[in-house]
Structure formats: C-alpha cells, structure tokens
C-alpha cells in the first residue's frame, strides 16, 4: 500500500478553541466599537461643556466687572462725595440727602444690589437702602475700615454673616474727599451683592435642554472645597457644602486643587459625571460645568445593545459554522477511516491468499524449503524440511526459533552459517554438499541460498531450497562407469580398426606394387616380343600383341584408380578455410590446357569460402570439372558454369554443363565404384571419379547429388557444413 495523507480525527477542543477565539475577537470588536462611540460622545459632550463653561465664565467675569464698574463710577462721583460730606457734617441739606437716597435706591433697584449702606470711618451707618438697616457686622465692618484707610475698592468673597444670613458678596467703595489736596477716603458705600438674583440664575441656567447638567462654583478653603452656589440636586448648599480635598475623583476637589479642562469623575452625590473645569479670572473661584455620564451614555445604551446583539449573532453563527465544519470533517474522517479499513481488510485477504498459495507451493515441493530472518530464525519452512531435520538431527524446527538450535552438529552449523551469511550479504549462493561416509549410501544435495529483499532493497532474510542430488549423482556415477566401459570398448574397436586399416594399407601397397610389376612384365615382354621377334609374327600375332599391350595398360589404369580411391578413404584431412573460387579456377585452367582447340564458354561465379581439406576438395573440383569437359567433348559449343546457391543457410556449390547428360533412372549407380553410364567407346573412364567425389564429400559431412536429362546436360551439386568441424570423420 502506498503512502497516504494521514487524516487525523478532528478534536472538539480544536473547534471550541477556534470558536472561542473567534468570539473573543468579535467581543473585542464590539467593545472597541462601543468605546469608539463612547469617545465620540465624550468628545461631543466635552466640546459642549467647554463651550458652556467658556460662556458662563465670560458671563460671570462680565458680571463682576460690571459690579466693580458700578463701584468705580461711584468713587468718581463728586456729587456723592459732597453729599456724604454734607451728611457727615450734620448739615443734612435736603438736596444732598435726597440725592444720596435716590442714588442708592436707583443702584439697589436697577442694579439688583440687595442692600446699599453708607458708613463713615467709625463704621456707623449713615444711610441705608432699604432704610432701617442700622448695623454693619463683620466682616463688612472690617472691609469698610480697610477701604477707607487704604482708599481703594474692596470686594469680599461669598460669605454670610449674622447680620445678613444668606450668601452674599460685599463690595466696599471708599468715598473720597472732594478736595484737590486731600482725596483721602472718609466714608464708604457697602454694596451687598446677593447672587440669588443674578449670579445664581446665571450659573444655573443651561443653554441646551438637559436633565442633569449643572454648573458649580467652588473655591478652596483650607483643606476643603466650598461650594459657592446652590446645587441642582441638593438644596441649601451655597457656602454650606464642604468636601475634603482628599477625594480627587470629585471634579470640585480637582478644581479646588487648580485643575482646568475636561475631567471624568463622580460628583458630590457619588454619581459619575463628565465635567469641564475653568478658573474664573480675577477671582479664586472655579467653575465646574458638568453633566451626568448617565445622561450622555443613555443614547449609547441602545447602540451598545445593538452591538451586543450583533456580536451574539456573529458568535452564534460562528458556532454553527464551526459545528458544521466539525461535522463535515468528522464525516470525511470516518469515511476515510472506513475506506482505509476496507482497504486494509482487502490487503489482509490478499495477504492471506498469497500466504496460502505460498504455503501450498512450499508444501507441494518435495525439496526442503525454508526461510530465515537476519537472526537466523525461521520465518517459514515446509514439511519436507521438517522431515529432513527430524531425520538428520532429530529436532523439530519452529517459527521464530534459530536454525542453529535445530542443528546438533557443530561443523554443520559452521557451514550453514557461512552460506547464510553470504546470502545475507546479498549474494546468491549455490553449494553442493553430501553427507554419509559410504559411497553407496552417500546423500548428495544442492542448497540454494537466495537473499530476501524488502521494497527498499535491503536484505531482510534468506530463502533456502535444498535439492536432493543423490539420484542424479548416482546416475552420473553410473553414466561415468558406462562411459568408461564404452571408452574401453571404443579403444578396443579402434585398435581393431587400426589393425584392419594397417592390413588394408599393406594390401593396397602390395596391390600397387605386386600387381604392377607382373603387369609391367606382361606389357614390356610383349613389346620386346614384337620388337625382337616381330618379323616372325603374322598380322594376327601382331594384333594379339597389341591387345595384350592395351589390356595391360588398361589394367594398370584400373589399379591406379583403385589405389587413388582407397587413398582418399585413408588420407587424414585437415580442415582449413579454403578459397573455393581460387581452387575451382586453378583446377579449370589446369584441365583446359589438356583440351586445347575447344570452344569452351566458362562461367565461374564468385564462390564463397568454406571449411574443408584443401587437397581432397581440390580433387572434388578436378573430378567434377573434368567430367564436365569430358561429357561436352562432342559438343560444338560448350557451356560450363561453376557456381553456388544459398539454401536454408547452406551453401550449395555446383558444376553445370550442357553435355550429353544421363538418364536419371540409372542415378542410383552414378556414385558407385567402377559404375559407368556411358560405354568406354563413347567416353573413356573407369567410373572411379564420382565415387571419389562421393567419398570426399561424405567424409566432410556434406552431401553430393546430381540432376540431368539425356542430351540436355547435367548439374552436379555438393554442399559442405558451414561450421568448422572439430575433426573430419575418419572412415
């Protein structure tokens, strides 16, 4: 099975984490968006608060300037100085008194001062508006004295006193002497400024509709902050509510500590607020413009709700998506697992089948077969092997057991280890061995050790097949014995043959020698008879002498031919590479010189070379070509072809003539010794030439044959083996 992508089972924690992190991101996004909106709102409210604070601070400053302006106007009023001087001196001129009274009345009514009081340097009230007020308490009294002695306008801070028990500001304006040399103050006008009428409404007013917005005016007093005005949410607080400076989350405390700008904190009620703090120029007051965070953030709440819903929707959707993904992946995982399992089961089945086949094959073998792993332990063996082990060592091999534990003989172990180790090194080892001491009882076997390799070509074990060679060895031995006997017989026969051959040789020698001598005597003495006694012989006597002579010459020729024929049979042949074309050509030229004057058209083809004995093959060509010349000698035009043809890988040489030919019905006699198909009168000859040809070609292991028709010429064919013979057969 090939390598497959390993698909892990998806784990729930993975999906939960993915979903969790996704949710975190969504929530963070929501929070971020909400804080963005909050910031927007903060900025907006800050701008508004800042604008309101600027506006109010300006208004308060302007209001203060107006008050001081009133005072300065009074200081410069010479009429007032004269009137007061008049009053103090006790003149009480009605005009001045009225003027003063109406002036004071006018200030009080039109400029909204609560009380105006005129006091002299003894702090005695000279005149008051409304009238009836006759006492100046402290601290106003101290301010009067100070204003007169320092001759300058003094404005007190918010305060209340036993005489005027509500919060108010005293503005003390010195009244100067109206003399060129003396402008010292001799009296003072005390303006009691009540913030209730103008300042508090001013402070409390808000340019836009708001339920919680308010403006505070505070100042520091020792270790605490003092609220100067009435509060929107608490009543009766002006100059009464004090808070320690320790709680810096309170904007008023911050303001008292000198902080200016926007600030988020908790107000005196402990309610979260957004504020803007300003210092009022020319005073030690701080103004805190504030609005409840709750009011600002209320509209955001809806948006927050929307964001939360969207976030929740996204989270839930993500939950569904991850769930869906998880289900999908899980399905795929189980599907894959199912397929893998199916494949594995199929592989298992195949494996079992293969295993059974292998076991069946092993068992079907009569030869012992077994295999070992790298530690010489059995991985398989057949019963033939188990039987052998039982027979030799009386042990039973078992899977996983080392083969050496099943061998009881140390030398066998060593030999087996040597062969197995060679196979484990990757070599195919075939070794023959035998056991048994007696030749007849000896068991021969051949062990083939074949390395077993895995897919990566590593040797993981060795397979061993043992072949029992005993029968073969026995047969070989038997064969060798038979061969020896045969050889002995051949030797015997050969020596017999050699003896026969020697006899034959001696015979032919004596034929040659012994027959020729008397023949020569017959011929010679007949000739001498004619030479020495010819005059005494008649014609018939001389004719008889001729017959004796020619017969003896013929007999000599017959003897010569017979000897030549027997010589061909006895001659040793040395096969060499021979140039057939050269031999045929030279033979033809040799023979042609003996038949001068004839018109012979010869055609010698380019004959291929062959293996053969040069001397005897030359004799073949000589006989065939001389026959062709002989049997065309009565032609007017002679055509002889010396050629060859290839047939089934064999080279067939031939000599073709257009001579008299022969009748194929006598073909069986053609190659016989002393057999002739033509009379001596027609064509001379002894019928030995073709017999010699037949004998030579036969001894070469070739074939010779002929085709002819009377009067149409004949063709003589012969073929020779194309390979070099080891030695040419001896006849």
């Amino acid at each position: 099975m090939g390598k497959k992508y390993r698909f892990k089972k998806p784990r729930n924690i993975t999906f939960i984490s993915i979903w969790f992190f996704y949710s975190l991101i969504v929530i963070a996004g929501g929070i971020f968006y909400y804080s963005y909106l909050q910031n927007e709102a903060d900025e907006k409210v800050n701008e508004e608060l800042s604008a309101v604070a600027d506006l109010k601070a300006g208004q308060i400053e302007r209001w203060m300037k107006e008050r001081v302006g009133d005072g300065h106007l009074l200081m410069k009023n010479k009429m007032v100085s004269e009137a007061v001087d008049d009053l103090i001196s006790g003149k009480h001129s009605g005009y001045f008194t009225d003027y003063l009274r109406s002036l004071m009345e006018a200030y009080r009514v039109s400029y909204e001062y609560r009380i105006l009081r005129l006091a002299d340097s003894q702090i005695r009230i000279l005149m008051a508006s409304p009238s009836g007020d006759s006492l100046i308490g402290n601290p106003a009294g101290r301010d009067v004295a100070k204003a007169i002695s320092e001759n300058r306008l003094i404005i007190s801070d918010f305060h209340s006193s036993p005489v005027i028990p509500y919060p108010h500001i005293d503005m003390v304006v010195p009244i100067r002497r109206n003399k060129e040399v003396d402008t010292s103050a001799f009296a003072a006008m005390v303006f009691v400024i009540s913030p209730q009428e103008t300042l508090y409404p001013l402070i409390e007013s808000w340019p836009t509709p708001s339920k919680t917005s308010e403006t505070l005016l505070v100042r520091r007093e020792g270790d605490s902050v003092l609220f100067l005005n009435e509060l929107r949410h608490f009543k009766e607080t002006a100059l009464k509510l004090r808070l320690p400076l320790t709680d810096k989350s309170i904007p008023a405390v911050r303001a008292a500590l000198g902080f200016e700008g926007s600030f988020k904190g908790k107000d005196y009620r402990g309610v979260p607020v957004i504020t803007n703090i300003r210092r009022i120029k020319g005073t030690n007051w701080y103004m805190v413009a504030k609005v409840d965070s709750h009011e600002i953030y209320t509209p955001l709440r809806f948006q927050a709700g929307a964001i939360i819903i969207i976030c929740l929707l996204l989270i839930v959707a993500a939950g569904f998506a991850t769930g869906y993904l998880r289900r999908n992946l899980e399905t795929r995982y189980y599907q894959l697992q199912y397929e893998t399992e199916k494949e594995r089961a199929a592989a298992e089945t195949r494996y079992r089948e293969q295993y059974n086949i292998l076991r069946g094959l092993n068992e079907s073998s009569e030869m012992p077969i077994f295999s070992l792993d790298r530690n010489y332990r059995y991985t398989s063996f057949n019963s033939a092997h188990a039987n052998t082990m039982k027979k030799i060592y009386d042990t039973s091999p078992d899977l996983g057991v080392s083969i050496f534990d099943c061998m009881t003989n140390e030398s066998d172990r060593e030999l087996a280890k040597k062969n197995i180790d060679r196979a484990l090194a990757g070599e195919k080892v075939v070794e023959e061995a035998f056991s048994g001491e007696q030749e007849l009882q000896r068991i021969y076997f051949e062990e083939t050790h074949n390395p077993i390799v895995n897919d990566s070509n590593e040797v993981v074990g060795v397979a061993v097949v043992v072949r029992d060679l005993t029968r073969r060895k026995q047969m070989e031995n038997e064969l060798r014995r038979m061969n020896d006997i045969l050889e002995e017989k051949v030797k015997e026969r050969t020596s017999q043959l050699e003896a026969a051959n020697r006899e034959l040789e001696a015979f032919s020698y004596s034929v040659s020698h012994d027959l020729r001598a008397p023949l020569r005597a017959i011929h010679s003495f007949t000739s001498i008879l004619r030479e020495d006694y010819g005059n005494r012989l008649n014609e018939e006597g001389l004719r008889i002498c001729d017959i004796i002579e020619s017969s003896s010459v013929h007999l000599g020729q017959l003897i010569d031919d017979l000897l030549a024929f027997s010589r061909v049979g006895r001659a040793t042949m040395k096969p060499v590479r021979i140039d057939m074309e050269a031999i045929a050509g030279s033979v033809y030229n040799e023979l042609l010189s003996g038949s001068e004057g004839r018109d012979v058209k010869i055609n010698i083809m380019k004959l291929p070379r062959t293996w053969g004995d040069a001397t005897t093959i030359r004799l073949v060509w000589t006989n065939l070509i001389s026959n062709a010349l002989k049997y065309t000698s009565k032609n007017t035009n002679t055509e002889i072809t010396i050629g060859y043809e290839q047939h089934k890988g064999e080279t067939i040489y031939y000599v073709k003539d257009n001579g008299v030919g022969f009748d194929m019905k006598y073909y069986h006699k053609l190659f016989g010794v002393f057999q002739r198909l033509h009379s001596q009168k027609e064509f001379e000859g002894n019928g030995v030439g073709l017999a010699i040809v037949y004998r030579i070609i036969s001894r070469h292991g070739g074939k010779v044959w002929a085709e002819s028709k009377p009067g149409e010429g004949s063709v003589f064919f012969f073929s020779l083996p194309s390979v070099k013979p080891n030695e040419v057969e001896q006849e």
């Binding site: 020569r520 010459v553 000599g556």
Partner: protein, 150 residues
Amino acid sequence: MGTTNNLSAVDILIVEDNPKDAELTLRALRKNNLANNVLIAEDGEEALDFFFYRNKYKGRCPDSPPKVVLLDLKLPKVSGLEVLREVKSNSKIKNIPVVVVTSSREEPDMIEAYNMGVNSYVVKPVDFEQFMNAMSSLGLYWLLVNDTPR
C-alpha cells in the same frame, strides 16, 4: 649379362629383387651403352654388404663408388628405405646418388625417402616404351651429365 664381377669398379648399382624388372632396366641401359659396369644386388642385405664391404664384397675396390644407385623399395630381408637410411646416414657414402625406382606411387614412401635425402624418385611405368625412356634418361643423366664430389 653385362654385369661386372663383384670386385671391379661399379658405375651403376641396381638393387632389384624382380629379375624381370632388372632385365628390362639392363635392356634400357644397354641400348644406351651404359651397362658396362652395372652390378645387381637382389635384396637389401646384399646392397648393404656392397656398401660396407661385407661378405662377398669384402675385397671390393674402395676407390670408385658407384655413380648412381637404382634402389627398389620392396625388397626381401632389408627394405629399400632401410638401405637408403643406412647409406644417407653414413658420412662416408652419403654423397653417392641414390634414385628410388619403384612400382608404387605411395605418398608416405615418397615423403620418407625425400626426408632421408634421396636424390631422385621414379615410379616405374607399366607401359614398356615409357619404362625404357625413363630408364634411359636416368642412366644418361646420372652417368654422363651429373657430377659428384671425389
């Protein structure tokens, strides 16, 4: 017969057991007047006796070796090739020209004879005329034309 006696100088030694062939050879030589000092040894042993001054050739004149020896191969007692070997292996007489004159044209005989140093090899023709011509030529050549060291 114009053969010399045993002890006089010999020009031609004919070693031949067949008296008919010997006669024919002599006839050929006589026709050419070459048969004056001819000796015929009838077998190989007699030929060797002649060469080594033995038995009846004990008192043979030692100064004039034959000008040619005509040696048949098929001889009783000692064969012609045996005689040839004895002659050609003896340093004193190996220069005497020896011509093998035989009835058979046997290749092995011819090769052996030449290997042993034969001076010529002639196959006796069956035909009378050819035989006479061959023998005449031999006699004329070896006696008149050829020269040998003294």
